[in-house]
C-alpha cells in the first residue's frame, strides 16, 4: 500500500500545470523524473508479487523448491532508447506482456539484443516468427547510451487478452545460420 500511495502522490504532483506543460524550472523537472522513477520501481515490487501469484499459483508446489521459482519481473524503463539490461545480458529470458486495453490486441514487440540469433516461443511452446533489425546507427553513436544492444528482435504478440497477460520465452540460438543477420538492401543510384 505504501508503494501504491507513493505512486498516487506522484501522479497527483504530475497534474500541476507546470508539470503538464513543461514550464517548470529545470531542477523541478529533474525532481519530477526522480519521483516517477522511484514510484515505478516501488510499484515494480507489487507487480512482481501479483504476477508470481498469477503465473505460478497452484503450480508453485509442484516445482522443486518453491522459493527458487519466484521470478523477477523487471520493467525496462530504457526501452525507449532500445536498451534493457535483462535482454542484453541474459541468453534466456521471458517477456510478459500485460494488455491494459479492454479489447484483445496484436502487437509488434521490439526487444533490444546484442546478437541476431534468437528464438521466441509462445506459451504453448510453439516457435514464433521473428526478424532482427539493427538499432539505428545514430542511436548507437550516442556516447551516453550505455547499451550493448546492436539489434532489435521483432516478433508479433498475437491475441493479447483484454486486461490480461501473455508470456513469451526468448532464447539465444547459437546454431542459427548467418542468414538471420539483417542485411541492407543494395543502394540505388
Amino acid at each position: 500500500e505504501a508503494h501504491l500511495g507513493f505512486m498516487r502522490e506522484t501522479m497527483g504532483i504530475m497534474q500541476h500545470h507546470d508539470a503538464v506543460t513543461g514550464t517548470e524550472k529545470q531542477k523541478v523537472a529533474l525532481d519530477y523524473a526522480k519521483r516517477l522513477s522511484v514510484a515505478i520501481r516501488a510499484c515494480g515490487a507489487n507487480m512482481r508479487n501479483i504476477l508470481n501469484t498469477l503465473s505460478l499459483g497452484s503450480k508453485q508446489n509442484e516445482l522443486d523448491g518453491s522459493k527458487n521459482n519466484v521470478l523477477e519481473f523487471k520493467t525496462c524503463t530504457l526501452l525507449n532508447i532500445s536498451s534493457c539490461s535483462v535482454s542484453e545480458t541474459n541468453e534466456r529470458f521471458a517477456l510478459t506482456l500485460y494488455n491494459p486495453l479492454a479489447h484483445s490486441t496484436n502487437e509488434y514487440v521490439r526487444i533490444p539484443v546484442p546478437d541476431y540469433k534468437y528464438i521466441v516461443l509462445d506459451h504453448a511452446g510453439k516457435r514464433v516468427p521473428t526478424q532482427v533489425v539493427p538499432v539505428p546507427k545514430a542511436l548507437i553513436q550516442i556516447k551516453h547510451r550505455k547499451s550493448s544492444a546492436a539489434f532489435e528482435l521483432v516478433f508479433q504478440a498475437t491475441q493479447l487478452p483484454p486486461v490480461g497477460y501473455k508470456t513469451y520465452y526468448i532464447e539465444k540460438n547459437s546454431n542459427a545460420t548467418r542468414s538471420l543477420a539483417p542485411t541492407a538492401m543494395p543502394k540505388k543510384s
Binding site: Q26, Y98, T105, P129, K143, F155, P182
Partner: protein, 288 residues
C-alpha cells in the same frame, strides 16, 4: 527503378533519389506525400513588452517566421524482412529517422531521433517534422481535444471573433495531444503522436509537428530560465514516433479510416506493459 519502396498489401511508401518520402499508396489510391525536417529560428526579444518577447518555455515565436531545412539530401539504408520493412534515414549530424511498415499494418511508423540541437551559432532552434501532400485542404485541419473529439481548425481564423493574425506561424499553432489530420473530398491524411506536441497546417495539404526545441532566452512569463536542457554537458536528445495514415476521406462512403485511426490511437498510447524475467535457471521445457 531508382526509387526505393517499402510496404505491404495495404500501404506502400516510396522514397525518391534524394532519400525523402515522395509518395504513399494506400486505400486504393496513390498520393504525392513528402516528409522533411525543418527548424525555426527562435525570436529574441527584450521581454519588456508583449509583442517583443523571446521564444521560451511558455511561447513559441519564430524570428520573422524564418525556417531552415535540415537537409536537402538524406542518406538511407533499407532493411526488408517478413515482419517489418524499414528505411533508416540520416538527415544531418543531429537528425535521423526510421520509417517502417509492419507486415499487416495499415499505416506507417516514423521514429525520429533529434538532438543534441547545436547552439554554437547562438541561435535557439525549434525543430519540426512536416508532411506535405497534394490534398486540397483549403485551410482546414483538425486537432484532437485531449485524445477525445476532433476539433475543426481554420488557418488565420477564429470561430467566435474577427481576427487579424500578426504571427503567421505561431498564430496558427494548436496543441496536439494525440492526432492532427486534414482531408479533401477524396483523400485524408492523419498523424498520430506519442506525446503532446504543437502542430499546424500552414499550407494546404501540409501538416507539421514540433518535435524538439532548444532556446537560449527566457520569455519572461515566469519560469525565469531559458529552455536549454542539457545532459552530460550536451543538449538533450529526443526520440519519438509518429504514425501516418493515408486513405480515402470520410466524405466517401467506404471503410472509415477514422475508425482505424481510433483503434491505432488506443493501441499506440496504451501499449502493453512489458516485464522481463531472467530465465537462466530454466530451460524452455521447465518454463513451459
Amino acid at each position: 527503378s531508382s526509387y526505393t519502396s517499402i510496404g505491404n498489401k495495404q500501404i506502400k511508401l516510396t522514397f525518391d533519389t534524394n532519400g525523402f518520402l515522395s509518395q504513399v499508396t494506400a486505400d486504393e489510391m496513390t498520393r504525392m506525400i513528402s516528409q522533411e525536417f525543418l527548424y525555426y529560428e527562435a525570436a529574441v526579444g527584450d521581454n519588456r513588452e508583449f509583442l517583443n518577447r523571446s521564444s521560451g518555455a511558455y511561447i513559441f515565436r519564430p524570428y520573422k517566421n524564418k525556417y531552415h531545412f535540415a537537409a536537402d539530401q538524406v542518406d538511407i539504408v533499407v532493411y526488408k524482412g517478413d515482419l517489418v520493412q524499414e528505411v533508416h534515414q540520416q538527415f544531418n549530424e543531429w537528425i535521423s529517422q526510421v520509417v517502417r511498415v509492419y507486415s499487416d499494418s495499415n499505416h506507417a511508423e516514423f521514429e525520429w531521433l533529434v538532438g543534441p540541437i547545436p547552439i554554437d551559432d547562438k541561435m535557439g532552434k525549434e525543430v519540426i517534422t512536416r508532411f506535405n501532400s497534394d490534398i486540397e485542404s483549403n485551410g482546414i485541419f483538425y486537432t484532437d481535444s485531449n485524445g477525445r473529439e476532433m476539433l475543426k481548425r481554420q488557418r488565420d481564423h477564429r470561430d467566435s471573433w474577427y481576427v487579424r493574425i500578426h504571427e503567421a506561424v505561431s498564430g496558427n499553432y494548436y496543441p496536439v495531444t494525440a492526432k492532427i489530420a486534414l482531408e479533401d473530398k477524396l483523400a485524408r491524411m492523419a498523424i498520430l503522436t506519442d506525446r503532446a506536441q504543437g502542430g499546424s497546417s500552414l499550407k494546404d495539404g501540409a501538416l507539421e509537428l514540433m518535435v524538439h526545441r532548444r532556446l537560449l532566452h527566457d520569455d519572461a512569463f515566469g519560469v525565469d530560465e531559458s529552455l536549454n536542457e542539457t545532459e552530460y554537458g550536451a543538449g538533450l536528445i529526443a526520440r519519438g514516433k509518429h504514425h501516418l495514415f493515408v486513405g480515402q476521406s470520410h466524405l466517401r462512403p467506404s471503410i472509415s479510416l477514422q475508425a482505424l485511426e481510433r483503434v491505432a490511437q488506443l493501441e499506440t498510447l496504451l501499449p502493453s506493459w512489458r516485464f522481463f524475467s531472467n530465465m537462466s535457471a530454466f530451460s524452455s521445457t521447465q518454463w513451459l
